[in-house]
Amino acid sequence: DQQVKQNSPSLSVQEGRISILNCDYTNSMFDYFLWYKKYPAEGPTFLISISSIKDKNEDGRFTVFLNKSAKHLSLHIVPSQPGDSAVYFCAATPTSGNTGKLIFGQGTTLQVKP
């Protein structure tokens, strides 16, 4: 029962272009969403988050969009840089219950070519 899905295992883009990473979820109780970035042999690092009361959150080159009716979120990276090459995980949590437990997608490997 995969409650958070990232259907694209990999994505390759040219430096300077836009990278769009997608994530779908099935659980209507999820109301807070996060994106993490992971380099090889390191732990995931937090990138950006969005609450369900918003449909967009921006931080520098990174923007997350949330479409609650479609149960879909996306991460846009503009412009993409070679240093952005990493595995990106989306994660979701229901804020009720107050356990902070995150459910992660399988990850998308982004390669940004110089």
Partner: protein, 114 residues
């Protein structure tokens, strides 16, 4: 601040052996988590703790045990190691009850059971 530290970085176990993965955080976070990541998969929650003396099971708790005697430490115990426990283990912590759900991860422990 060192953040979240994990030891050891690597370990090879024989089937049936036991070991403890150590995790320490110096951010005074009340919530702590243990995840495992298998190749091509997302992170699966093994156990979590919402405070000293309180622990609960996650998605994949079988074959593991935890304890939380202090705010800083959250060790994960593997009893009777099996090849299915070959994975990368990540410890994380957060202030999940402060309206912010970001988790901060350690660098991981790569465990091989042969």
């Amino acid at each position: 601040n060192a953040g979240v530290t994990q030891t050891p970085k690597f370990r090879i176990l024989k089937i049936g052996q036991s070991m403890t993965l150590q995790c320490t955080q110096d951010m005074n976070h009340n919530y702590m988590y243990w995840y495992r990541q298998d190749p091509g998969m997302g992170l699966k929650l093994i156990y979590y703790s919402v405070g000293a003396g309180i622990t609960d099971k996650g998605e994949v708790p079988n074959g593991y045990n935890v304890s939380r005697s202090t705010t800083e430490d959250f060790p994960l115990r593997l009893e009777l190691a099996a090849p299915s426990q070959t994975s990368v283990y990540f410890c994380a912590s957060s202030y999940a009850n402060m309206g912010s759900y970001e988790q901060y991860f350690g660098p991981g422990t790569r465990l091989t059971v042969t």
